[in-house]
Symmetry: C2
Subunit: 546 residues, 2 copies
């Protein structure tokens, strides 16, 4: 039996696009001699359609597309993912399903049993967990077909009280197939290889695992579909961050032509780089835009975003706007111009002095002689947002936000100012990682000017301002933030590790108080196991740790 794994990039709710792509891939798989071609979880509608699942028309369109695909499935079998109506009166109205189609006929439907409902996942919002389990017979094989999370309940503190494979194994299948929508985080590939291998070892079965690829706003699917033998040895690891169709010959419990191999753990920074490139590319491609704009300060964050955008979209599609003020240091403009020259992207220099003076005059009757403070600082940041948004409105650019995760965490940013943007490129990248990514960008030649990398970080909103005036060193800050955000440690647990008590309490309080800002922030490309945004939901008004 020849099994093709189709690792594709879907567009949420674009039934025509997804259907055509799937049908073409079926033709290609057939051409390559495949007997079965396997697509990812919710491949027909894209993952995740979120509350579109509550529209009955959306479910009807999913089923209609799946039938169209089935009709094209002559002389081959395929596995598709789609939402389907739950025929039972009791329970939620939908299942997260896999259709097994053989030679145009729907032969079996498998429904997902374990519904992830943590971090960025909301599946129990829509789906009823399945409690029926049976294997699929195909070409003399018995396939244990499961959907993503169904294989993720084997650890010492299982999140679910049941385990689908414990049921399916009773029918003595001879292979496992799992269709997934497993998003990228820099540590997630290792986790996947380990958990899926554990399944093979536990059930003594080979596994064909298909993930999807492509970014859906903030969620980035990295592909990396996997094939294991029945002893849990990894046989093949498909491409990361790109589409791939691969055909495997499976007979007598063996995958022909593949020897056990080791997962090659990539450097986190390299992976984050590739994820961000795909995230930017797909955001623009899927929303029908091609040109990006950003404010370029001469600092490291906007320089890095400019370099990433130029790589993702082509430098000719990137407009960098330099908006110096009276507080901008002499080198800032030069550093920004050096970067623009290195990248070959477009730029404009639009000083904000006139706007800042106009607001100063406008506010004079109200502010009188009150001293310069955060109000005036924010006027500068917001005037810059007006300028880049005006360019966006006039010329059709999409604004990239350049705030990093450390800033987002402590609220070091101006709402409606430098926090503006359609998508945040670095909002899940700590400042210490920003440095590493910048050095990675410069791995072959100096693209980001060394001066942008080595100078002390500053928002340049008042004379001589430095980040270190109000924040600890980023090495310390980021470690405290990581303990709190990723590891969910309490202040006392963090202090026990040797950090200064008042500093830890101050930082945690800053994080919580800034929730109102993050609530209005741009969606953030997710590259870590805990990003701000839909995967981290906190009360805006509340007192814990405030």
């Amino acid at each position: 039996m020849k099994i093709a794994l189709a690792q594709l990039n879907y567009i949420i709710g674009d039934f025509e696009h997804n259907t055509q792509k799937i049908i073409q891939t079926i033709q290609e798989a057939r051409h390559k001699g495949a007997n079965l071609v396997v697509f990812a979880e919710l491949s027909v509608c894209g993952y995740s359609p979120r509350d579109f699942l509550e529209f009955s028309e959306f479910i009807e369109l999913s089923e209609k597309s799946a039938k169209e695909i089935a009709a094209a499935c002559t002389g081959i079998a395929c596995i598709l993912g789609l939402p389907t109506a739950n025929p039972k009166i009791e329970g939620k109205d939908l299942y997260n399903s896999a259709w097994f189609i053989e030679n145009t006929e729907l032969k079996a439907v498998v429904n997902k049993a374990l519904l992830p409902n943590y971090d960025v996942f909301d599946e129990y919002r829509y789906f009823e967990p399945s409690v029926d389990f049976s294997c699929i017979e195909f070409m003399g094989h018995k396939i244990a077909l499961t959907i993503c999370e169904d294989l993720w309940n084997i650890n010492d503190n299982p999140m679910y009280t049941n385990c689908p494979m414990d049921e399916l194994i009773k029918e003595k299948p001879d292979l496992m197939i799992n269709i997934a929508a497993s998003p990228f985080a820099y540590n997630h590939d290792e986790e996947r290889v380990r958990i899926l291998g554990d399944n093979c070892r536990k059930y003594q079965l080979p596994l064909f695992y298909v993930n999807q690829v492509g970014a859906q706003t903030e969620i980035i699917f990295d592909g990396g579909s996997l094939v294991f033998d029945g002893s849990g040895m990894l046989l093949n690891e498909m491409a990361y961050f790109s589409e791939e169709l691969a055909v495997y010959e499976f007979d007598n419990g063996k995958v022909k032509g593949f020897e056990p191999t080791m997962h090659d753990p990539q450097n986190d920074i390299h992976q984050i780089h590739d994820a961000l490139i795909l995230g930017i590319k797909d955001y623009f491609m899927k929303s029908g835009f091609s040109k990006a704009i950003l404010g370029l300060s001469g600092g490291i964050d906007s320089a890095l975003v400019c370099a990433l955008a130029s790589e993702a979209l082509g430098p000719e599609n990137v407009m960098a706007v330099l908006m110096p003020s009276e507080f901008s240091s002499d080198h800032s403009v030069q550093d920004a111009l050096d970067l623009v020259r290195n990248l070959g992207c477009k730029h404009e220099i639009i000083p904000i002095n006139q706007a800042a003076s106009a607001f100063e005059n406008t506010m004079k009757p109200v502010f009188k002689n009150l001293p310069f403070n955060v109000a005036e600082e924010n006027i500068q940041a917001r005037s810059r947002a007006i300028i880049v948004m005006a360019m966006s409105n006039k010329f059709g650019y999409i604004l990239l936000n350049t705030s990093n995760k450390s800033e987002c965490a402590v609220g070091y940013g101006t709402l409606y100012g430098d926090m503006a943007g359609a998508i945040s490129v670095l909002g899940d990248v700590y400042k210490t990682q920003v440095y590493k990514l910048s050095n990675y960008i410069n791995r072959e030649r100096e693209i980001i000017p060394l001066n942008s990398i080595i100078k002390p970080p500053s928002a340049e909103l008042r004379p001589g301002q430095r980040d270190s005036d109000s924040l600890p060193d980023y090495e310390i800050l980021d470690e405290i933030l990581f303990q709190y955000i990723e590891l969910k440690k309490s202040s006392s647990e963090i202090i026990k590790q040797g950090f200064d008590e008042s500093l830890v309490k101050k930082i945690l309080r800053m994080v919580n108080v800034a929730e109102f800002k993050r609530n209005q922030a741009a969606p953030i490309l997710r590259v870590s196991p805990k990003a701000f945004g839909m995967g981290r939901r906190l009360p805006i008004v509340g007192k814990y740790l405030n």
Copy 2:
């Protein structure tokens, strides 16, 4: 037996505040002769703490507070709501629990079985559903104690496959107690009375139902705790939108001194008014602010918000900023000034001409002679946001957003401009309801100038602009939006009702395309069964209906 129902306003994560309030109420209930005092769901920590539930310290603090409350519970029993650790290895780590405390001793723990995970609810994100059911014995009574959603599974298409009361009834209880966190929507009081009455009729048991009151950012708990007899007749309906402690004498299956009564359905507009007042009041009180600011255009939306804020916070705490431009009509400033005079709130007049000119000059080298378009319109809206945010930063005002639901729906608003604000007062109020609310404000005397109510709506961002240039009449628009947003109808279903096909398709497309704006909008006080925000989650990049 005397049962006290304590309908209180909690602060999320403010353990000290909640604990003190609960202990004081226990003392008061004891003073009134109560044998048992009942508090709402998650009363110890406030509803909902959201991802704070993932911090083990938060759970420890909840249990610590509950023990402190138990220690104060001498000579009386109480029922408290709090999250507790699930001792089982399998399943999620927490339960949503009720503690039954009698004379300082924890006598029973009841865990919630049905976990709402739709609209604004995410309970399956945190909690394991209980599968163990038993009644509580107290003073010769057998109490069937359940938590909120546990009683909500009786209808023709039940969302859950089990029903806690079907289990508890086997032990032959003689009364039901339900502790809840049931948020306001203008139709929800009727629904509650019906569903809870259905439970009494089905199980032939009286019911004591305690809701909480108070706003938690966007979610507004309206109180309205209820007592039913064993035939499902309503005996008492507690206060809406305010705290109340009531003591009931329950003996021989009867509540002494109460005759069957009818639920008094309030006018929706009256309810929405009261909810918005509480929403504003609690947002400020719970976040430690007292002074509000808003831009006052002379139009109806900002006039209504100004009136509501003046009522909620006192007119002396409301600063209305008039920011006329060259496109402002003559009457706009006068209408705004009339309102300020009628309310007695503070005001400033800060024209935006200087700022707009400065941006015009600043952009000139880039925009050259390109015609005036949305770019220049948005510069005006964003300049206004800079001004009110500068006032906010300088003087500690909190900015109220004045966009209505119709505008939020179709994206008729400027991101980082008139969409700015800490909290949106009218984002869940359609324009047609804005008129009704304004007339309600004027029910005794003209507070909102009639001229603001009757003049054709306009954003006044270019000469002679009117909303009707690009939108249908609000009566038609709002009906189409209601069908799509609240009822989740497809375009074909809406068209079948007689609406113009191209109009329906255009409107639905506008709603979907504006998702990127709503994603960065202020949190919206929720008054309808389907508000924009955490209760409506849609992909930003996606093609369905775009």
